[in-house]
Symmetry: D4
């Protein structure tokens, strides 16, 4: 905060957030991504960007991770568009939104369970795809290991992967790619 | 052979096959699936079937496993159709063949690397999908563990899985499903 | 619900179910499989079927998974028969029920711990076996990995596997196999 | 050898055995278990025993491990009986031999692939079962890990396990159990 | 209970035990091994035995598992002796008790963390050792996998292993070995 | 080739390359990355780019993977600069080259063994880092799993990961990032 | 206590500590490392030492483990210096403290997430480094397995590793190294 | 070589060594540890040391790793003593050599299979123990993972671990500890 921020703290529960807000009134709590943010309005971030980041997610259970990514992009001053709940089990929903995704400059794709979405997107769009495995699943999902492996073994080109549930890391990577040099 | 067959031996190399053929002339060797078969023509298999089995595979490296499945179906007297090299990296090739796949009574789907194909098929066809992970891949593929997990975690319904590289098991399961009761 | 259903939601606890029922009165909660279902009576499901599905389970701890399978079959309109608590530790109980199992058109076999049941059934019946590892066990069971591996390595033919504890997936696969084309 | 033996060396190939025999003429090589043995006839082993050890194996691929066990028992002076190729895929063969197995004082059960045999035996005999996973298998067998886990999670009582392919260890444990105190 | 018992139920918490005792007054709860037992005094078990079972454990954290083994032996009518807290970190305590252990007919050795105790015992006693890994430990212990692997790889002969924390299984195996045929 | 290329085939040995060259004379073999390439001079690739790609590698054993990345970039028409053998064991060599790396538009960082290099770079440069674990190492390296995990858990922001030894994938991702939109 | 101590008990929560202090008043509870200590002032420890131990940690989440190490050193009578929060994400903070670290006789380095710190230190200091992986992290961190592997594969010489979160073990090893013989 | 050495190259086979010696005559090849060394006599290493390093190994299969450690110590100018083949299966051999080990200033302990030796030594000596798991073993040894875990979970204090088969790393760590500051 002394450096002017912005500040983002992830993996915070409501009780912890309330304790911090008792001290720092300007801090905002975001219950879906379970994150806390603080922005100093005097330090408006307005980086030169290449375009819009498409934040695509497969199922409703992946939304907290996707929202952590969105919050990161917002704090870093990058425009983004949510394309949620377009996983492969109802693949027509993805096809309906494909044109919009193709106009973005970089795609973040969040998926749990079988983690198929980034592979499919990688084969259909022509911009970098940052893949985020989510821990949504059970049994042989192993808390996100299954989609992590699916994404690391993607047959499509232009796909790279961050840690399980790491919406922040995906947002930061996407922002770095999206920056106009 | 004493029981009239048919006989199928998998994971046989050419040298082993030659040694057997020196003793049993009627045995045939199939170099792609690396299998040996023997059929007694007097015992013609003609089971009542429900339809055709679609044997779908993702990449050229998956063909030996897919051919082991085809050979199994052939020996068990079930009609089948090959739909090879239609993986998700060039997903339009799959869409071109989709109509034919939908007319089958059961689908066998072989895929290595990210193992995405059965999930995608499961979302687009309305018959049982027997998924076979192949060991084609490297690194975090772990000799087929990555596609095995992808398939076990499939978001699509109507998908069940056999062991890595088990083309025979997939063929036998498909035949059992395809039998008219 | 707008589409007429039926609707099945799994992995629901009682508190969650009560919250939903406060809004949607017609929803039913099933405490054993921990699932919620909704059927619109106007949309009676009556698919043409091939026969009865035998839902076989090894121990009492596997019953929630087996019941999730039964509920799935019921909602999809398929007749089924419960054959519970016939695991290999008291193998004579399985032998007592074998005749009934053999008359079914497809078998679902649920087992935890060593996961031996589907292998044994696969060697004794002549219809497809959908194997479901349950997470019942401890220590080197690894929450169902042990029976999952047992089932994937089954020496018997006509066995395919779904995810650990995936009673729904097994029911859906069995229904798809059991449908008269 | 100086201590009078007997000596057993396992995991020896033919070339190594020939090199040893060039120096020690009395050494015998056993190609199936790939082991080398040496017995000093002056030191005849004749321990007091409780009965016969049944060495049971599931498939033909398990025979080298089973034979390593038999050789160990022979050198230690314990009577044993081979019951080979009675795995669960053709379970009637096991039932045909069951009476003989029940008359033994201890059972060694060797199985690869799904490793189901010791669980089944444990439920049907009333003496200790020493289970040996073999590395016969492929894919999700993981060189014997699958049957190892099956055996460690056995629902039957009176089963304990040795290392994968450890025919020697199983024989030594069986001999120790079989010794009349 | 209808069959006359004895009955042993493991992994029971106090609340569950109280609920059962409200119905079956004769049931006894054992808080250390967290087990419930019931014995019908009319059915006194008095099997012919070979000797005493030594139940040896490494640390105080292993005592619940060791006591589950003791309770099993007691219910099955076998004499046993506790030799607790003699792990390798204070190896002199083991040496002090060694003579007593050597006089037993079979040893059960429970150890968590590095699981070294059964290997050491196997090298110093001349009777069968049933090794039980306990889940006591943290980090790279992986809930008992570390001592499980130590025990499976024991360099000493006459050691066989049961599942992690399976005090019951070890007791049942020891009893079976200890029975006079 | 019919489509005009360029064509890149990875994981090719010399013998295979010679066989292809006997048929297609224009194909070139690259022994260090063990890859085969073919370019049609009429189809000169000259994409608009953002800058130079820095291909950084830790040890000499990582050079084949780094060279596979360089070859990919060359075929796709992107300028790149090699910064090899600057791993953390001799960290001053990295510091000597840091200025040049900072002027690139995207960094590819290849490292085996402990895989520390991308984390360190991520903390010192301000452009996206594509991390490639190599399988160079032994023991608890597990053929590249150790550096893969190091990279996925990087504390630095702006790091995303591709499969073990996947120099091609890293090059393609870097090219996609480096393209001027 | 009877032997005069000092006594250190780790992994104790506050409630447990209070229960002990009700009986033994002299026992002290340390909430950060969650440990309990007791020292008999009559038994002052004053070992001859070689120098100061530098206890270095990467992030704030690693402090409990680092403090367990400090407490161990204190009880064993070794001088130490805390160098906390100097992980690789803000590597300049490490460089600021480097001179002090170089003057120590042995370094303990605690790090979670990617576990990069000990490798980096190993390349920059000339005394033994005892590396402690902490379980701070998520996803593909696997509760400290990722930094454990990073440390075991360190390219730097003079690094050895203790168990995940084992601050006590690292302190004891450092003390043993630091003792003047 | 330009810097005056000494030079040590590990994991070299004879053919590679011959190729190097054709160019650099002074290079020496050591077939047991499979290493190549070069020393410039003008640069005699004579570090001030604290004492002798005891290099202890469990089985004959561990000798190559132990010898790699000895060679490292020799090149770095530290006195050492070999104590080989004293594993826990014949534990009296260890007791015979214990006095000598206790007089050393630091112990390196190499063990494969169950990896029990360093734990046992840690409980009996009063100097730092550097533990080296070797990959000698089979089955559930997993190429040295079993002894690695045993050593990381050692109940004894004063034990730290290096990578599997890393005789060089153990020697370098021991030398660093043994240096007189």
């Amino acid at each position: 905060m002394e450096a002017g921020g912005p500040v983002l703290v992830t993996r915070v529960n409501e009780e912890q957030a309330l304790a911090v807000r008792a001290v720092h009134r300007g801090v905002e709590y975001h219950p879906v991504p379970r994150a806390m943010s603080w922005v100093d309005e005097k330090h408006t971030l307005a980086p030169a960007v290449r375009g819009t980041v498409a934040v695509v997610s497969a199922g409703t259970a992946d939304i907290p991770v996707a929202e952590e990514c969105c919050l990161t992009l917002e704090l870093m001053g990058h425009p983004f568009e949510r394309v949620f709940d377009v996983g492969v089990a109802g693949v027509h929903r993805l096809f309906d939104r494909l044109e919009g995704i193709r106009e973005s400059s970089v795609v973040v794709a969040v998926a749990g369970m079988d983690g198929v979405l980034p592979s499919l997107l990688g084969g259909m769009v022509d911009v970098p795809v940052v893949a985020v495995p989510s821990s949504a699943g059970y049994g042989a999902n192993f808390q996100g290991v299954a989609p992590l492996l699916t994404m690391l073994n993607s047959c499509s080109t232009g796909v790279a992967v961050v840690n399980i549930d790491n919406g922040f890391g995906a947002g930061a990577m996407a922002a770095m790619i999206n920056r106009a040099l």
